[in-house]
Amino acid sequence: MKSGSNLEKLLEKGEFVITGELGPPKGTDVEVVKEKAGMLKGNVDAVNITDNQTAIVRMSSIATSRILIDEGLEPTMQMVARDRNRLAMMSDLFGANALGIRNMLCLSGDHQSFGNHPEAKNVFDIDSIQMIHMVKTMRDEHKVICGDEIEGDFKMFIGAASNPFADPFQYRVHRLAKKVEAGLDFIQTQCIYDMKRFKEFMKQVVDMGLHERCKILAGVTPLKSVGMARYMAANVSGISIPEDMIERLKAAGKGNVAAEGIKIVCEQIQELRALEGIAGVHLMAIEWEHRVHEIVEMAGLLPRPKG
């Protein structure tokens, strides 16, 4: 076992996993975290804790992750290269490990110009691929980057993100291959709406045998409204939402759009589950945590197995 986390054990057993996501509060309100955690508990196998997502200041992913452990859930701590140099990253990783955090996601991070402190100086001392390599070196060689020995245990299940919908498309699979080469254990993809393009991507992944070297969790996000669909298509990099999906939401009629969005996401989960190389799904239902139970149940993924 690389980390002994629930997520790792389930994936090793070949269970079809489901991970969730929780955005920490823009302040110190622990109750917000507990409330969201309560809605996710028992419905997902691990929960991504975002790290100042979209460059907006929030409670740290380390602290929020620990609160989640206390609530009886397993966190996947996200870490971005934007805000920390290699010293701070390794130091925070020691701290995270000491607090019982066993899954992490290595990310570049959204540029600070998107957030609430666009005046800030970014760091980007190392990038997300180098971060994967760093964590793997810490875990497998028991050393920090400079070669110094780590005192005590260091265990971590190493994840990263992949955006099959960003450009240039033909290069995306090679970027995933670089992450695998750097030492990745699992990947979560950007949310999928364009299934045709995702299947093309997965064909390349399977042809290169990458699915045998890392676990691939397909990202899904339920569409709450037609407005949200249009907003995401226009503002989130690489997201293209097929027009027939938007038409289907519209056709559901007033008051029924959200339910239709849930039906669509459940159908997507079934379709993804049947795809070669997919080990699970990553359900990003940000600010929609109260609907997660319903989605997971409708997708036929309850009860969740124990690792």
Binding site: F124, P168, E181, G238
Partner: protein, 230 residues
């Protein structure tokens, strides 16, 4: 070349308002080419200051001068020029940040009977190229360890908003950077260029951690050529 923009006029005016004899000092190299701080811009700025102070009924003497390079002693050593510097109460340098600092250092080394005050009239921006008429773009951050050989001659340290060595990130869309649609994704350009060169395999291995010591992270840098020293 080094590029710069003129500071807002009100900021410049406020920085010299307490002095009666002002010398606006242009620099005829980089900042003259990007039309921010050359002879012509020194003349214009001096006229604007005269007019603005004149309108307020303030009697101020504003002269403009220019040298070939403010970052080199030899272009500022003319005794008659140094005499004019000495007569001024303040020198408003419209060179880049290097020129402002070097002119200040040189004047105070050479003129010993009076401290010489030098203030900047420009904001120095970047090391870049003149892409088109009236358009300059940043091309080098001076990181001290050039990677252009591996990246098809396109610098990811400078031109990627995240300085990624293993890009592109997930924010690359239609060849543009996530920060705005006017900025090319450097890694998109690199991949296109390497494809043309038939060298796409060059970026398949993981590029390891960069040593930032040769960059500004290692502290202010110095270059010594012992063979050239006297």
């Amino acid at each position: 070349m080094i590029t710069a923009d003129r500071k807002p006029f009100e900021e410049i005016k406020a920085s010299v308002k307490d002095y009666d004899k002002i010398m606006v000092l242009g620099c005829e190299t980089c900042v003259a080419i990007c039309q921010a701080g050359g002879e012509k811009e020194a003349e214009i700025l001096a006229s604007e200051l005269k007019l603005a102070f004149g309108n307020e009924g303030k009697k101020v003497e504003v002269n403009d001068e220019h040298v070939i390079r403010q970052c080199d002693d030899e272009f500022m050593a003319d005794p008659s020029f140094l005499e004019k510097v000495k007569e001024a109460d303040i020198v408003l340098s419209i060179a880049c940040g290097v020129g402002v600092q070097h002119a200040c250092n040189f004047f105070n080394r050479t003129i010993t009977d009076k401290p010489i005050r030098v203030v900047p009239g420009l904001n120095t921006t970047f090391m870049g190229a003149n892409i088109d008429v009236g358009l300059w773009e940043e091309r080098c951050l001076g990181c001290g360890d050039c990677v252009l050989e591996k990246t098809g001659g396109i610098c990811p340290i400078t031109r990627c908003a995240k300085s990624l060595l293993n890009g592109p990130c997930g924010g690359s869309s239609n060849g543009k950077c996530e920060i705005n649609a006017d900025t090319d994704c450097a890694w998109h350009l690199i991949i296109e260029r390497l494809e043309v060169l038939g060298e796409l395999d060059r970026i398949k291995p993981v590029e390891m951690y960069k040593d930032w010591r040769p960059s500004h992270s290692g502290g202010p840098r110095k270059r010594v050529r012992e063979d050239l020293r006297l």
